[in-house]
Symmetry: C2
Subunit: 354 residues, 2 copies
């Protein structure tokens, strides 16, 4: 029995993607060679890289004056690459603190200059997104995290920024339409809606680079990877290939706008049940609820073992909440079919009836 | 027909590894979930990570006071992590210049302090390994590249160093016995003898770290990854898994000493033919010849098209030499069966007879 995979990440990927990826590990491109034993400078792999970039550009409608990069190191490496590339010496950057990942980004930026926290939801264990905050003038950039996996909150409206808007979209990129033009730099670890762990997508407006006079080590300089077309050194071949397949799958579904509608429908189904069911409560402020990570608590702890057993018997995987919130977290990324959510909702109803 | 894959990297991996990896992309650990859609904090993946580390420790006989890390970013990121972690402020490090990768490492270190080139074979297009060089006193470390993929040279005897010996072993780790105790830090991109592109192995003597007073960004600090057990952030799950399978395969063959004997036999077969055959010449100094990358030239350019066609017809892949040396390069990594080398040698004989 295939499981209902609610894992927060690495997470569910489309089955047809997994099948094609599995095949490519044995025989890629019908060349009788494995994808992972050919040169990254060979035509078949250069095609993969170009297709992946083209699909990102098409799906997110990325303007031509932005570069699309596939890097390594995850969002955690971006936490330092962003200030290295964008913060002036003795500069100042504004950050929105909406959870553990924001905090880590803030911590890293402090190694490079002054950090101004423009909004902060730590007072309520990050269960909401700060609003009506002011971003001071003369900031080198403003940084925010679009979706907070652990707390189940999501920025619905990005601020109109006088400075460069930088966003960590690791956990909701390709899940909804975005206006790339609003952003100066977007980064995202692949391992939610894009592919397996081991690749990082960066979308950067070319003109913002090279302005800090900072001496940047080669591998940490975005310009290196723009010039090298994400092949300055050997790229993570398999994660990029699977990302390309997943992007192709998104396109086949009708693109990001179709995916977004589906995600709204999926999330609504589960949130409605959480709100209706007397046994459960959502943890995030309603207006800030994430479409990707749905966090909820069981009111009556004595029913926990029973519910956990029901979930396990139904093949539900990865639904345990993060320790800093507790309860449950259903991650319902793009590849999650609504049928799996229905299974969960049915169990919640059953539990209430019992 | 399965090809004879002489690619320089990413390169040939054992067939049984590819088969198991392919299966895991669909159903890993018989859990009815793909390896690439489960949490890296789940027990099955933590087992993979621990097995991979244990196998490295066992196969290379790594002492307990050394840490074993699986990182991202390839050797190119290590080029800057090494000076970041080991070079004192206003410090000085000694480097051996044996090719393009050494050069890149040197270039990067210059961003952190003074670099002393203790040996340099650029005068003869890197076709030999410098010997009898002096490493000055008071160096923060000495850095060398054990095998030079492009030029087909390999260090046979590592220097006895008063300072920390740091070595880029990307293209020959696990191909021969090494005495880890001689080294302070070893690093290697996975994509030759260890696995697919996207993981970097680091073996570091714990006591050498934390001595520079340099402020190191979190992700670039080896100590972060020691403390986080290579899980500070989401690791590159698939490349690490396939590396683990490859290390398991090495163990099954009888370990590194058996592999080394096999590699000597394989290389001897091809070098003997290069030396015997009137049409071919080896490019590297005989005593410095690499067991991994065998570079040779065709004396008579008019026979090139014929030989290339013969190779293609025989299913020989990736044998074109790097542009900076020309001719041919047969990369004969661990997973390359001697049968493939015999096919190549037979063609060389046939060409001479014609």
């Amino acid at each position: 029995m295939k499981k209902h995979n609610f894992s927060a990440g690495p997470c569910i990927l489309p089955e047809e993607v997994l099948k094609e990826a599995s095949k490519a590990v044995i025989n890629f491109n019908n060349d009788n060679l494995s994808l992972i034993e050919i040169s990254h400078r060979s035509k078949p792999f250069i095609n993969v890289m170009n297709n992946a970039k083209d699909l990102v550009r098409e799906l997110l409608n990325v303007p031509q004056d932005y570069s699309i990069l596939f890097l390594q190191g995850g969002a955690s490496l971006e936490f330092l690459m962003v200030p290295f590339n964008l913060m002036k010496i003795n500069g100042n950057a504004s950050y929105l603190n909406t959870g553990i990942w924001s905090k880590k980004a803030i911590q890293e930026a402090k190694g490079f200059g002054k950090v101004t926290i423009s909004g902060d939801s730590s007072d309520k264990n990050f269960n909401y997104i700060p609003k009506n905050y002011e971003i001071p003038d003369n900031m080198d950039y403003f940084h925010c995290t679009s979706n907070n996996t652990i707390y189940g909150t999501q920025i619905k409206n990005f601020p109109n920024c006088k400075t460069h808007l930088v966003c960590d979209m690791s956990s909701d990129i390709f899940s909804r339409k975005i206006d790339v033009r609003k952003f100066a730099l977007i980064y995202a670890g692949a391992q939610k809606n894009m592919g397996p762990a081991g690749a990082t997508l960066v979308i950067v407006k070319n003109e913002i680079l090279g302005k800090t006079n900072r001496k940047i080590p080669t591998m940490l300089n975005y310009q290196t990877h723009i010039t090298g077309e994400s092949m300055f050194n050997t790229p993570p071949v398999f994660p990029i290939y699977v990302s390309m397949l997943t992007l192709k799958w998104i396109k086949k579904q009708g693109g990001v706008s179709v995916i977004e509608k589906r995600n709204i429908k999926k999330a609504k189904l589960l949130y409605s049940e959480i709100d209706r069911n007397s046994l459960f409560n959502g943890t995030a402020l309603i207006e800030d609820r994430s479409l990707m990570n749905i966090c909820f608590l069981l009111n009556d702890e004595s029913k926990k073992d029973m519910f956990d057993k029901m979930c396990e018997d139904a093949g539900i995987n990865g639904i345990k909440g993060h320790k800093s919130v507790g309860g449950y977290r259903a991650s319902v990324y793009n590849a999650m079919p609504i049928e799996s959510i229905k299974v969960l909702v049915d169990l919640m109803r059953k539990l209430e009836k019992n």
